[in-house]
Amino acid sequence: MVIACSGFHNLKKAKGQYTSFGIIIAITACIMNIALVLAMQTGAAYDRRFQELNTADVNVIIPEAQHTASVRDSIAATDGVEDMEHRRVSLASATVRDFAGADFDMTTVFYNIDDPRTLNTLAVERADNEQDGVYVPEYMSEMGGFAPGSPITYAIDGTEHTYTVANTVGEMQYGNYGTGLIGAYLPPDAFEDFAARHGTVMEYSIRASDDADTQQLQSDIAAALADQGVTVLNTSNRVSAKQTRTMVCTLLVAIFLALAFIVLAVSVFLSNFRIRNTIANDMTQMGVLKALGYTSSMIIRSCVIPYALVGAVSAMVGAGLSYAALPALAHVLAVQSGFSFTPTFDPVATAIAVLAPTGAIVIFAYVAARSIRRVEPINAIRGIRPNTATVNHFPLETTNMPVKTTLLAKRIASSAGTNILLGAVAVVVTLLMSFAGVLLYNVVIKPANLMDTLSEETPSVIFTAAPGKLGELSETLDADGRTRTVLHYASVPVSYDGGNLTAFVSEDFSQVHNDIVYEGRNPATGARSRWAARLPSNTR
């Protein structure tokens, strides 16, 4: 009780100091709780939704003409395939007009929304009047700004198809730009109309058995199809899709955790410094307390209790406040991932977010306060400090310097340890500030520096030419005195084993200035090779 009172008195004595400390801890706990809740709930929510919609583990698209019983049997016979179904779809390289204010190239799979599905089911509320409508995934509606009722135009092979967004579809097969494919779901008549213009392909949705490796299964199916001479137009698997869709969230969690760690490290350093200061300042009182019969551990506790108390309360407040920020953050993540979930109170995450900073503070405060054990009451009362100077640096009598300079030198020499520590802190802080300043300049004020350095020259303007108008656009741009360089390229979806990406194809890459050169030895041939960066144009 006495210790608690003494701790409380310490708390009252330095309210301002503890307030600033509490704010730092609250921020730490807030950031940490956000990171932990997202880390613990995003993946689980994704998997839950995946199960709810009975999403396929592997999807393969092949030409409709190659869809035969033999191919179907071949896929079904692949080890690890538990269930499968197929449907007619239309695959198109589409440009979505006015996607968040710009044209958006995306390989799009058009579906008949009424096709029966047992795998890759959709969560959708059908609109009353959907004749000219299209159902779009969350990514399109949230990121692209296509709310229900708004028009959406797909430009495909020179034809523009304009629909009204009937509603948003909850699906887990595709998701966002990173997955390389996106779905669009048309009512039956609209689909047939679309298919008549652009043709159809066959999509196989495959459910893997519980013990199957999804990515291995995808490779095995691709190999089986290749053996039969079947062209795989596109293939995807849920593991890659999940990684892609949750990538920003994972990155955000890592950044938040790193940030929380840095803030915590700063607060630990501050509390340590303050406790040492408190001990130095209150040395006499501690000596008196010892003389009265207080043990060292009792006095240590009275020093640690205020920090533990402030740390715990602030961490609870910070963790609590994080729940106010989480919905907004989850919305930001939903916009980029095309998958929305509502973070809920997570006792484990909150317990960690409260206990970790509080525990760290208590441990470091205790370590700092342990020096109280060395306080001898008699010395404390007589004003003799531990580690007091024993050497008279720069004696005034003999030092051949002006008195003021000598006094300054004396002061510096008498607290060499503190000065070295302060110097080290100043160096680290200056380094961090310089790094942050340079980064801020290159991200906010002159972002081209960073982007150009990382890969290639960033275009100032991107134009998508209408069919047959490329020559005219090229001439216009070349004639414009403000144009420095023009690169003509086409966006092409490329599938590879385990994923998809969009590649740029150009007849003349000499206009591209890449700054990164990868060099190494080809593991197959042993020959040295250079790849992808500022190669002479004739080696492309």
């Binding site: 009780m1 006495v2 009172c5 003494s6 008195h9 310490n10 009252k12 004595k13 006499t284 009182q285 000596g287 008196v288 307390l289 010892k290 003389a291 009265l292 019969g293 207080y294 043990t295 060292s296 551990s297 054990r373 001898e376 009451p377 008699i378 009362i381």
Partner: protein, 252 residues
């Protein structure tokens, strides 16, 4: 004078410094403190009066010898064991008072009182009795140390020192920082406590303060150079003369 010994120091050594810079204060000092006595330690400046006081109380550790306090060799105790031992055995009054500045006078007393296992009511009751004894009003008891006079603070310091009914009350120049009126008030409290049976060991260089004791020991050259039995305190010219004569013998 009671005859039983409460503190007995034997062959006590105490020195400061290291290497070639060692200053020896005591080399082979022996002293007994008797229960119920008001013992005053006097000596020239730098003679080691306070060092002796703090060694006898266990607050400072001698370099050699033994100090038996109520049968316990306190030189063998660890820091924490000594702290626990001192809660009941020792009370301290310092020259600079050293009340804890963020606690009221009453809280300062209770903070010491609650170290001994008693109910808060009992402690508060005794604290109030002691505050009455030292003539500190109920209102002043609630004041912070910075808001009371030096004399009031010192008297509160005395209440804190005796709240746990210590075996021995140690005082280091308790009137050194007080004016004449406050000194007298504080000394009156010491006398009153002594008359109630409190054992007191006090360091002073003030003759007026020393006269309150029934026994005066004089420290010189690292030894107990002499001691004088004055008997119970009273305003008595013969007693004062005896004391003066003792000091003259000690070449004070």
């Amino acid at each position: 004078m009671a005859s039983d010994i409460v503190i007995s120091a034997r062959h006590m050594k105490k020195s400061f410094g290291t290497g070639n810079n060692i200053q020896t204060i005591y080399d082979d000092l022996n002293i007994d403190i008797y229960r119920g006595d008001f013992t005053v330690i006097m000596g020239a400046s730098g003679a080691g009066k306070s060092t002796l006081l703090y060694a006898l109380s266990g607050m400072d550790t001698p370099n050699g010898g033994t100090i038996e306090f109520d049968g316990v060799d306190i030189t063998k105790l660890t820091s924490d064991e000594l702290a626990v031992f001192c809660r009941k055995a020792c009370g301290f009054v310092f020259q600079q008072i050293y009340l804890i500045d963020n606690m009221s006078l009453m809280d300062n007393v209770l903070a010491a009182g609650t170290l001994v296992n008693r109910s808060k009511t009992q402690i508060a009751e005794r604290a109030n009795q002691l505050f009455d004894l030292v003539n500190i009003s109920p209102q002043t008891r609630k004041n912070m140390p910075s808001l009371v006079s030096g004399g009031e603070a010192q008297r509160a310091g005395m209440v804190r020192a005796v709240i746990n009914e210590p075996t021995v009350l140690f005082a280091d120049e308790p009137t050194g920082a007080l004016n004449s009126a406050n000194s007298t008030a504080v000394l009156d409290v010491f006398t009153s406590l002594h008359q109630q049976g409190q054992t007191i060991v006090m360091v002073t260089h003030d003759k007026k303060s020393a006269l309150r004791a029934n026994r005066v020991v004089y420290v010189r050259d690292g030894q107990i150079f002499g001691s004088c039995e004055l008997g119970p305190y009273r305003e008595d010219a013969a007693r004062t003369a005896k004391f003066e004569e003792f000091l003259t013998q000690m070449e004070w």
